[in-house]
Structures are given as C-alpha cells and as structure tokens.
Symmetry: C2
Subunit: 261 residues, 2 copies
C-alpha cells in the first residue's frame, strides 16, 4: 500500500530542486530498477508488484524498505507514460572528487546537452563502448533527472559522471598528453584521418553546438560526413547519434583497423 | 486569431484515426515547418507569428491559408512541451505504390519500431546518409505521428516511406541480387567483415528485436561489438543508435575504405 505522501514525494522528484532538498532520486522501469538493486546506489524504498519482487528476490537484501504494491498503485505513482512494475526511491550519492586519472581511452565532455533523453542515450552509448567516465558542463541536463535514468536503460549505474567546467578536464588531458577532439559541422572527415589512441571528445549543445570558449581549446575538429550530395539534406545529426558514430569509429580504428578492406 | 475549432482540430491530430478521418497531419517546430513549406506536401493552414511569417515570406506562395497568430495562441494550440512560432496543418499524401526500384545503395526495413522518437531519429539518419527510401512493417509507429515529424527535424520531407510486409521488400532485394542484412546481438562483428556494396538492412523492435519469421529470411547477421569486457555493461544499444552506427560503417567501407589505417 502506497501512502499519499509517498506518491507526492515521487512526483516531486521530477524536479532537481526537490531531489536536492530530499537528497533522493527516482529510478523507474524494471530494467533500471533491477540494475540499481545490484549497484553502488542505496535504495531507500522499493515499490514493486509481487511478480517483480519474486523475480528479483535475490537482489532485495540491501533495500532499506520494500513495499509490495499493485500495478494500479504503480500507475498512480509513476512519472512514466507506460509505467512498469517497480519504482525505486534512492539516495543521491555524495559528489565524487574530480577523478585522479582518466581511465578510458576515449573520454567525453558534454557542453550543455539540454535534452534528458539525449544525455541518457549518451550514457548508454558510453557504457556500450567501455567509457566509464563522463564529464558534463554545469548546464548539461541533470544526471538524476528521471528521464535521463530512464533513457540510460540501467547504464547510469556504470558510468561515473562529473559536472565540471571544461578547463579542469582540458588541463588534465593536456598534462596527460591526450588530444582534445571536438565534433563540428566544418571539421575534418572522421573516416579520412587517423584518430588518436586516446582522446578527450567534446560534444556540443543540440541547437548551438560547442561554445566558442571551448572551441578555442579544441585541438582537432572532426566531422561525420553526409552522403546526400545531390539535394538538400539533414543539417545535422542528433547529438547522441553523433556520439555513437564517433565512438564507433574511434573504437574500430583502434581495435579493428585491419579488417573490412 | 485561432478559432476554438482549429485548436480542437490540431489537438485531435495527435491520433492516427483522426489524421486518417481528417486526411490531415501536423507539422510543428520552426525547422520542420520551414522545410515543409518547400516540400511536396500541401500545407492547408499555416499558423505562425508575425516574425516567422516575415522570415519565411518567400516560402508562403503555395500555402492555402496563412493565419497570423500570437505566440500565446501557438502555445495554446501546440502539442509540444516547448512550442515554437509556427504550426502547419498539412494534407496527408496519397499512399505511393511500392517503388519500382530500390535507389539507395543501403536500404532499411524497420520491423515494428514502436517509439515515434526512434522512427523520427532514424528518418533523420537516413537523410544524412543519403537513404531516401525507407520500409516499415505495418506495426511500426506512424510516419505522420507528430512526434515522428518532430524528431525527424525536417528529414520527413526527403525520406520516402512505405508501410509493407517484409516479403515484398525481401523478394525485391533477392531479385536484384541485394543481400539481406539484419542487426542481431549474436551476429558477426561489423568491423571484422566486408559489408556488401548494396544491402537491405533489417532493424528490429526495441524490446524483442527482429521477429523470427523475418530472421529466417536474413542472409547475413551483423552485430556492433561492445567494448566493456571486464564487467557487466549495457545489454543493447538504442535502435536508432544502432541504425546510425551501421549506416556509418557501411558508408565508410564503401566510400572511404583506404583511410585511417
């Protein structure tokens, strides 16, 4: 049985100011919830149907409070259009210090990505391509926005994310001899150049691209060429799509350079 | 000035049954609207602010009815969370006959893609990669869903789309000697094989992948490898992200095979 107060709390966690005030965030969708149950995050209250609890019974030991609810109650509490069988209310983690070491061969900085769906999709892409550290500008969508969590399909549990100005990340990269790449519509064709073994990749805002202050610090401008020469075509690709193509080409060149010729 | 009836009409066009009944569809977002004004589609009623009309004055000649409205009126009528400065009510085009010829070197069949955002993003990817014909299974999201149009960012004007069972497309491909590729989690690494010069690529449903009836007709199973060997990682990529990576690798191999080694 879900109390009115719990429903009110859940709804309130759609907003960042409430997440900070309550020190909580929300995880919805059965895939996301089953991932958060085995993650580093602390689950304060798990609301789930009997079936979900049965299927995930081995994962419940570190949950503070388990509340069995009906599907109807989930539907009432959920922020989703298509509610599933579980909702986890989790504790916001402590903000981590800036990492001492960039671990991935490819590391990404997001310059004001606004759409939560894009951020979540990029987190999922990072996870797929073994990028477990992600840097975001302070104005990028909030990692703990329920829509980000939702779109990440569980990958939010595995990709550590820092909100930081660009300079500390850039300075870190420079000191480590890691080149700074940026995706621009007028950059050099990624298929026609050797990408470095290690890189810091900057991706810009959906409408405005990379801000000029950051552009000045980019050492290598890259571009995904379009293939529609005979007519007008798409002006740009969605930023998460661009992220995916660049990650793919970077990994291909470094891990499978000799194939497919 | 927008009438109450027009607002009611606009709201009703969110649903396919109403689009068919009215023989109309909706285009929102200034980028989409300015593209539809120069497209083959017939614009029945353009509602736009004075500024939008001024900026696009050269494109208004084939619009049946132009209604200057305030931003507030757009906000009242719009289906979007962040309404812009224009809404176009357009005539549904006649259903085109099955194309006589597959024009693109890469051709895509979508097997029950449910999310309108995914379909719109795939249309935008097709446009970028010069794929101007797209085939969708009858249960794939409707091309004229306002969310599809929105996510396509104008590309819906340039990518012709047919809703059809798989067999006619497959048979067409077979007759033309075009191999049928499908994206599977257990397919062969795309980076480790020579992709064909021409192909029909099948992409499956978000939750269930490619249906088994279609799987039987796929001649070459391909896979985007993941790069996270040391730990659990994302189980799959978003279907539009997978589409983007496969299109990119296909085009790279065929147009830029000799670079980046």
């Amino acid at each position: 049985m879900v109390s009115k107060n719990t429903i009110k709390l859940i709804k309130s966690l759609a907003l960042k100011k409430n997440r900070i005030k309550q020190n909580l965030f929300l995880v919805e969708g059965d895939k996301n919830v089953s991932e958060v149950l085995v993650s580093q995050f602390n689950v304060e209250n798990l609301l789930a149907t009997g079936t979900f609890l049965e299927n995930n019974s081995s994962l419940l030991n570190k949950v503070k409070l388990v509340t069995e609810v009906t599907k109807l109650e989930i539907e009432e509490a959920s922020l989703l259009k298509n509610p599933q069988n579980s909702i986890a209310i989790c504790k916001l983690p402590k903000t981590e210090d800036f990492p001492e070491k960039i671990e991935s061969d490819l590391c990404i900085y997001l310059d004001d990505i606004q759409d939560p769906g894009n951020l979540g999709t990029i987190i999922r892409i990072c996870d797929w391509f073994g990028i477990n550290q992600l840097f975001c500008s302070p104005k990028t969508a909030d990692f703990f926005n329920p829509k980000v969590i939702q779109a990440s399909m569980g990958s939010f549990c595995r990709v550590e994310t820092w909100y930081t100005l660009f300079e500390p990340v850039a300075s870190h990269a420079r000191k480590s001899g890691i080149p700074i790449l940026g995706a621009f519509l007028d950059g050099k064709n990624i298929y026609e150049q050797k990408l470095p073994k290690q890189a810091l990749l900057v991706l810009g805002n959906e409408g405005n691209g990379i801000s000029s202050a950051i552009e000045n610090k980019v050492e290598q401008k890259i571009r995904i060429p379009e293939f529609n020469h005979n007519q007008a075509s798409a002006e740009s690709l969605n930023v998460s799509v661009a992220a995916a193509i660049i990650c793919s080409e970077f990994k291909r060149q470094n891990y499978f350079p000799d194939y497919s010729k």
